[in-house]
């Protein structure tokens, strides 16, 4: 990422990254022992790309994704969104960042069990709106949620509660929820990790479609096969990112 040091012609025309992590460190303190999970991670997410973050279980992938998504605070380093340091935002702005700028998809779906599929999607649109704000946009947002679920193939599952849905269906609802506020970056933490192969493949196909539609996506996985669809693959090893420059990337062709 030496854009300033060696300004190759292709790099000059490349749009600036949406998300950029810089020298991120994260240490967990457990029972008096320090566990250094991230030891200075740099990474970029460029507009329109599908970035895969690979790494073994326990390597800190989720930790990194949480930091990119504003769910935790790094011990050192910064996360820039549109060039602005995410963690210098105040609490409410950070909430807004989580709600609007990024969309999170978890391995275990994490739907709210009391709500129907449709409500699970719309609730994300309600979070940053008051009663009046919601009422004003209700029709339009509910329609958008319906469209999204429809697009996910869940047209006849809207009123079902999560417990009545299969794993794959739940994950589709979760994806719709992540997309309802039109986030610029979709952050997916092993979205297929809890699914059988066939279902996982269909979910991946969904991400592929979204990506094809221009959705910037960061996907964490420990399954190298999953990475095939990615524009770029980085691997988290020993608390650092390796293999940042992977061939398929359309925006960052290495100089011959």
């Amino acid at each position: 990422m030496n854009l300033t040091a060696t300004p190759a012609p292709a790099a000059v025309t490349a749009p600036p990254p949406i998300l950029r992590a810089q020298a991120i460190e994260k240490t967990y303190r457990m029972g008096g022992k320090d566990l250094r999970v991230l030891k200075g991670v740099d990474c970029e997410v460029r507009p329109g790309e599908l970035l895969a973050i690979l790494g073994r279980s326990g390597s800190g992938k989720s930790t990194l994704l949480h930091l990119l998504g504003g769910l935790d605070r790094p011990d050192a380093g910064q996360v820039f969104y549109d060039g602005e340091d995410v963690y210098r935002r105040r609490g409410r702005e950070l909430d807004r960042y989580r709600n609007h700028s990024v969309g999170f998809v978890f391995q275990f779906y994490h739907l709210l069990p009391e709500l129907s599929a449709l409500e699970n999607v719309t609730v994300a649109a309600m979070l940053q709106r008051g009663v009046a704000g919601w009422m004003g946009a209700k029709k339009q947002l509910t329609q958008r949620a319906r469209d999204l679920l429809d697009q996910m193939g869940l047209a006849d599952r809207m009123t079902h509660r999560p417990s009545k849905l299969s794993g794959g269906e739940r994950q589709r609802v979760a994806i719709a929820r992540a997309l309802i506020n039109e986030p610029r970056v979709l952050l997916a933490d092993e979205p297929t990790g809890n699914l059988d192969q066939e279902t996982g493949a269909s979910i991946l196909e969904l991400f592929d479609q979204l990506h094809a539609g221009g959705q910037t996506t960061v996907m964490v996985t420990h399954d190298p096969k999953v990475a095939d669809a990615a524009d770029r693959v980085v691997t988290l090893v020993g608390g650092r990112l390796a293999g940042e420059e992977v061939a398929q990337s359309p925006t960052d062709q290495p100089a011959p």
């Binding site: 935790d72 409410r92 909430d95 989580r98 978890f106 009391e114 979070l127």
Partner: protein, 484 residues
Amino acid sequence: MFKLLLVLKYLRRKLAPLFAALAVMLCTAMVIIVMSVMGGFLENFRASAHALTGDIVVEGPLQGFTGYEELVATIEALPEVAAAAPMLRAVGLVNFRDTAKPVQLQGVDFQKLEQIVGYKKTLLWNNDQLRQHLRDPQSEAGKAFVAKMTRAFPIDPGPEAGAKIPALALPEAVMGVEVYPFQRRNDDGDYELSRSRAGEKLPVTVIPLTEAGTVGVLEPVRREILITNEVKSGLYDIDASAVVLPFSTLQSMLNMQPRTGFTDFDPNTGRGGEEIQVPGRANQLVIKAAPGADLLAARDAVQAVIAKQWEDRPLQFPPLARTWEEVHQNILGAVENEKGLVTFLFGIIGLVAVVMVATTFYMIVLEKTRDIGVLRAIGASRGGIMGLFVGYGLAIGVVGSLLGLAIAVGIVTHLNEIQAILNTWFGWQMWDPKTYFFDRIPDTVNYTEALRVVAGAIISSVVGAMIPAWIAGRLKPVDALRYE
């Protein structure tokens, strides 16, 4: 908006909030029921005490004071006073067959008494009942007797009235229904007319005092009176001891009537000096305050009138004016005191509600930790999460306390029916009208107080939800998400 949605969902789906709402409901219902019944008793009691005493009572020494006619006239002229009347109070003895019993004698002008304290509504038997009770209404004498028994206000007709039929000459009087030792209430708590003394003669004995209050100089005086009705005032002490007769009757029995006497009269020789007019005496006044007048101000005005009239009697203690509340201070104070204790108990019940809601909510927060993490992760603010749980507490408080109010109203307004049902089904008498003097359990809800309790319950629920809400708000999204 998500708060509203989730509060509604959580209310419907979970068992825990049901328990919390149930706890709030029971606490609310209990407080309202106890308060209504207690307050009802106190209210009944105060009303009875007030009705008996009038607004203000002026009490002098037992041997009485002179100049009461002038005093009454001056007091009645006060703007704070609507009406005033002299009264006599004395200890007496009555005889029922071979049973002697001490009684409180009251001499009053019944017409005045009606004006000042409402005498008629304390009468137990109405005229129809009395007519049925009296055996022989056909004869002339019987008709005259019935007329005597059923006239609006008892009088002392004087000896001439009884020239042909001596019974018609008797002074008329009413007495407390429990004065007659053989009166009993039936299981419903009602008195039986068949046991009543209405229409019976009653020998009454008093011991007159001298002007200086000396006992034993004058001989006891015995006279027969006719009981025309019985009184049920609502205060047991009164109903078990009061015999009320015309003012003039009691005054002359007590030798307190205005009369002609002699200076230096020697009772041993029967000889005296010059003939003089001896003024009459009374030992009490009853006063009705003007509508809207402040009782304490009226009392002070009355006391000032007394002080003025007593200026030229330096050796006499002036009679003392007191409001009805002051007269019944001991017993009213005791009941008020009990109210304080009950309020304290209510405080504890309120605390129980707070703790119940707090623990239930803490459990809900624990159970919902992951969902809280999810909500935070997808953009809910810390304040939003806290608001969710506080709103939840509010909802539970509203639902629980309104249900409690409904239950309390249902129970309180049907308390007497419930008691009747319990009695017929299980033979259990929750409320024995024979032992208590109010024959109905108070069954009205004071809605102002009830709504205050409802508000208290809602506030308690919100307070109870606040700590768990704060804990929930402080959860970090990642920690909550990893929570298993």
